[in-house]
Amino acid sequence: MIAEIQIQELFKKYPKGTEALKGVSLEIQKGQFFTLLGPNGAGKSTLVQILTTLINKDSGSFSIAGLNPEANQSRIQKMIGVASQDNEIDPTEKVENLLVFQCRLFGLTKPEASKRANELTQLFELDKERSKKAGALSGGNKRRLHCALALVHRPRILFLDEPTVGMDPVARANFWEVITQLNTQEPVTVFLTTQYLDEADKHATEMALIIAGEIKYSGTIIGFKKMVNPNGVMSLDDSYLQFVKTVSNPETSKN
């Protein structure tokens, strides 16, 4: 069976010489809640940008739902939803208009678009904000709207690139409730990058750890914790810190 996201030997070098990805290979099965972890500048966002066809790879191959995204860009966009680090919203438009327009871009009819916009404003608790301009929303509500826009077309794969940055604890809890529901009920495959390891630990089951463009671990989160500390129970946060320290500076960590 072909994995939902299949990545083989992906390389990416930026014009200034930074090697962002050095032969990344991964397999993410349908319906998995997967998280890609790694320090800042490790290559996480680059990988997400390549998988979502925002930038081109140098070499290697990848497929989304069995399709080559570079040759099926339009079909792929209908399958994936992307919520990245920055709020991609038009600040001059009203919340409801933005949602309806986004739905229409994905091929929904006017009545379908209005219905879906209603669902999403309720789901993300934006009911009271629907006639406000997006630019007038609070930081947390802008994030909610940004995430709602990624879901208008009921994607089968969700790419969440540090999605909860800037959300207050209540908004975060609400956001994860929506995402886990989608993951368990639909089931939507989730590809998450985050620096909040407690969130990854709580919601994801599979993970990969990328450091300086190379995958250092790929498997289950439970497996990762056992690998780092076979005898005891450690949180993902502690396991991650210990592992990164070991990989970054093997001599020091031995002492």
């Binding site: 979502t52 925002l54 930038i55 860009q73 339009s74 079909r75 966009q77 209908k78 994936i80 992307v82 990245s84 920055d86 709020n87 991609e88 919203i89 038009d90 600040p91 001059t92 327009f101 986004q102 229409r104 871009l105 994905f106 091929g107 826009l149």
Partner: protein, 253 residues
């Protein structure tokens, strides 16, 4: 045309209606030219070289040309705003073809310019501008105006995309402005005495849109100017749209 393309063009038009400063400035500038030139030097319109349409019909094409120039100075403002806010990335991740993300706002700018051109033609007709082929003349003027406007909007948007600065869209207007004065703008060819100016006017593309319009208005020029103008501005439209699309590839989303 698919729904996403129409939606994006509609959006560009709505944005222009909400923020109409550029097309309104272009329209105001055109009316100003028409008023000032006709009032200041309209008296020479009784000379034979200006034909039966008088000076008003003779000078009218300059208002159409300047209208498109004014509008193109604001070309790409929607595109620029989307790039600044990050919304362009959201559109980029939709199933809409990526070329339409650049072409839609350009088309919206051009359509807005055309709407103001129609208004200008109506005002001109009210004040006595003659259209020798009636509706066909109007359609011919609109066609030339569309190609001229698309050319300017394409180059303006392309330069804005490459520099990443909205203000740089005005570069095209500033570059084209001197061409207005190196042509048969104020006087017919036979009344221009400087040979160097006559020589330059032959190579100046603005001459062909001016004289092409004059053929359609009072018939003071030959049809060949209209046909050559169509050819020139069809080519420049293709070049400018291609330039804008190539410039779009340099956008970092």
């Amino acid at each position: 045309m698919n729904t996403a393309n129409i939606l994006l063009i509609e959006r560009g038009l709505v944005k222009l209606i909400k923020n109409p400063s550029a097309p309104i400035m272009g329209f105001g500038m055109s009316l100003f030219f028409l008023l000032v030139y006709n009032a200041g030097i309209g008296g020479i319109g009784s000379m034979e070289a200006f034909g039966a349409g008088g000076y008003l019909s003779f000078v009218f094409p300059i208002t159409i040309i300047s209208l498109a120039m004014g509008s193109s100075a604001g070309a790409g403002q929607t595109l620029n705003a989307d790039m600044q806010s990050g919304y362009f990335k959201r559109l980029y991740l939709s199933p809409a073809p990526r070329w339409i993300l650049v072409v839609a706002p350009m088309l919206a700018d051009t359509i807005s310019s055309m709407a103001f051109t129609i208004l200008l033609i109506a005002i001109g007709a009210t004040f006595g501008v003659s259209f020798q082929f009636g509706l066909l003349s109007v359609l011919g003027i609109l066609l030339l105006s569309f190609l001229w406007s698309l050319t300017l909007c394409g180059f303006s948007a392309g330069i804005m995309l490459r520099t990443g600065q909205y203000q740089s869209a005005a570069i095209v207007t500033n570059a084209v402005f001197p061409l207005l004065f190196l042509s048969t703008t104020f006087l017919p060819r036979e009344l221009i005495t400087a040979k160097w100016l006559l020589a330059i006017s032959w190579g100046n593309p603005v001459t062909y849109i001016l004289e092409g319009n004059r053929f359609l208005l009072a018939g003071t020029s030959s049809a060949s100017f209209f046909y050559i103008g169509l050819l020139i501005f069809s080519i420049t439209s293709v070049v400018s749209v291609t330039f804008a699309l190539r410039s779009a590839k340099k956008i970092k989303v």
